[in-house]
Symmetry: none
Subunit: 411 residues, 2 copies
């Protein structure tokens, strides 16, 4: 089965947002062996939407649409599907109750136009949306399948994962299986150089490298009739990659550096506290974004001023005055200080110059110190990041979690 | 002139990367008044690339392609263009010197296959690429224009900005200007209801609404020969929108609720401190992501445990025991407590159940209390968010900043 991902949204054509929905859907379809041959984006224009829909069905068996399920007048995706298949729209009581329920919860009156969100092309399977008013639908006719989902990613993604992918499993032609390796502490071209003969000789599985913020991802992708056969194709390459990259590569099944950090703390039953200066809460919010972290995360301090660093974390004023707030000495005292203040097993700290201002003689924008306190010892690293404020903050937050992961894993 | 952006790249169809090129190009074309009606992505497949190219020229006058200019065998975009226009490929000496020069700089031998990067469809204008081996080209015939650029964004973007956009200026039909309105505290369909007659009568400017996390965006877009004329078209609509939406709409030139919060604090010379439970550092990191915030942001506390709430913020234990950590009373004490602890003008607090676990009798997942302390008074709001952990955290963080903005603005 071949698929096209068709996204409706003038805001994508205006460049207001990137089409991350198409990316996410592509990944999930690959995982169940459905080939994606086209991505298309058209605006909220009746004629162009209809044409795009018609075209998609001439070249794909499965058309996954996002967008145009809202309550407003330019939300017409369901109507266009109904017109294409020449069916009428029917009222779905459950969807109506769903929309009413959300308005009730928000203590707002439901505008009349929202009733449109309870109508679907006759014969649809309605897809429930726990994160918004717009339910979606699946419509299947003569071996062709249309899937309609809302545009906002936080509504679309759970719907795809929990309802659409399970439905599409019946069309799965074997699997496209990917193994992902997260590599830290080394650049993309160096990773490529280490793996170059494997990359040059690839057919199935294929091997590719991508650079991300503070990490390099190596992706090995195999296509085979079954999971077992795909795994067997990947196995020798997997072994080779792990031997060559050694401790630069994260353990298998690691979704990301942040998830791994949270899981590691919970599994080892370690408590953690965080002292952040230049990352301003990012380290804490990354850890806390995983459920159940209240068992491990005790406290976070965002100590922007010297006063707060001294008062909350016990950083000595002579250290601050002599070496400055952005120094290995301050980072070290912050990490140890926060662990003591919160009585935590692990203390994390960041201090740096995120920019664009704040640089001084010998301390350029992008200079960051990170520190991890664990088992009576504190390790500090100096980092130098190019780039913009948000990027420096993000990379520094990832780096301190990466350092913590490595320290805990080896002890 | 209408444009289609056609991106070649199997890695986009596999979901390895998002199509950020299309987003960037769309923005730049809008700025010079060229409408983008379609984005398309196809893989490195000869037949599908050719079909996509043909289709693009039937529905657009300008086709901007990215990808497929590399030295490998599946890089065939130039060849497909030549075939479509039935011209042959010619050797460009300067491009050849360019590729050789890059290899020399890297101290590597140039593989023979790279000579392909010096060939272009006869009649092309060659586009220089200072950031990689792949030069691009512009090909114009009978009022139709094809632009071919490399896929990596750091190569494509400078080429577009410095060579392609200046070339396309001759097709510029004035400008497309947009005004954006950020509306909070009201849903998308309610905003539409308020503006429905304007929306129904729209031609130029056009008016559209989009739902985002904790906000609705209204976009007014005008097309005119000059900036001044576009502004004149927008002006009466702008006035009307501001009258109708009143204090629900953010002031002009507000890039977002977070930016506005930071600017408001800095302009009013107010200091702020943040006490976060369920948002775990997100509120602080949003504020701090704007440069210069060290003048206003004093301190943040991520008080996940009751102990931390009592110890750091002075929340009374009998309040915590009697009403619970997720209660309006606790939120109020947190906001006031953090302002006192940090000696700040403004205190912000969040406490809630982000889920998926943690719900109790009468306190469902998604229940959040936010509080703002300012000028001796504390305002508390109860919020009920549907959805997932990350979404609840994000919405609550936006909501407390929005509440702060409104409180400060009216005082």
């Amino acid at each position: 089965m071949n698929a096209e991902i068709l996204c409706f949204g003038t805001e994508i054509l205006h460049g207001d947002i990137a089409n991350t929905n198409a990316q996410y859907i592509s990944k999930q379809l690959a995982a169940i062996g459905i080939n994606v041959y086209y991505h298309s984006v058209v605006g909220d224009n009746h004629v162009r939407m209809e044409e795009a829909f018609r075209l998609a069905f001439t070249r794909a068996d499965l058309v996954i649409c996002t967008g145009g399920l809202g309550p407003t007048q330019d939300d017409i995706t369901k109507e266009i599907l109904a017109k294409y298949y020449q069916v009428d729209m029917t009222f779905d009581e459950e969807s109506f109750e769903h929309v009413k329920g959300i308005y009730k919860r928000l203590n707002r009156e439901m505008p009349e136009s929202n009733i449109r969100q309870a109508y679907f092309p006759r014969g649809s399977i309605v897809l429930h949306n726990p994160n918004g008013t717009a339910n979606g639908c699946i419509f299947e006719r003569k071996g062709k399948v249309a899937v309609l989902m809302p545009g906002p990613p936080f509504e679309m993604i759970p719907m795809l994962d929990s309802q659409v992918v399970p439905y599409l499993m019946k069309f799965s032609e074997g699997v496209i299986m990917g193994e992902k390796y997260i590599v830290t502490g080394v650049g993309e071209s160096a990773v490529e150089a280490i793996l170059i003969d494997l990359i040059n000789n690839q057919t199935n599985p294929t091997i590719a490298t991508f650079a991300g913020k503070g990490r390099v991802v190596v992706r090995v992708t195999a296509k085979a009739p079954s999971q077992e056969e795909a795994k067997a194709l990947i196995h020798p390459i997997d072994q080779e990659i792990r031997i060559r990259l050694g401790n630069k590569v994260y353990p298998a099944d690691t979704a990301g550096i942040e998830e791994y950090a949270s899981q590691l703390l919970l599994t080892r039953q370690l408590t953690v506290a965080v002292a952040e200066s230049c990352t301003g809460g990012l380290v804490a919010s990354k850890l806390i974004s995983f459920p159940g972290m209240s068992a491990s995360f005790l406290e976070g301090f965002i100590t922007y001023s010297n006063h707060a660093k001294a008062e909350r974390l016990g950083v000595r004023l002579d250290i601050l005055n002599h070496y400055g707030a952005v120094s290995p000495q301050t980072a070290e005292e912050m990490a140890r200080g926060v662990a003591f203040a919160a009585k935590a097993d692990v203390g994390l700290a960041t201090t740096g110059i995120a920019g664009p201002s704040g640089a001084t003689e010998g301390k350029p924008v992008g200079l960051v110190y990170i520190a991890v306190y664990y088992q009576g010892k504190t390790e500090v690293r100096e980092l130098n990041y190019p780039g913009q404020r948000a990027s420096v903050m993000e990379r520094a937050a990832i780096a301190v979690l990466d350092l913590m992961n490595k320290i805990i894993a080896k002890n």
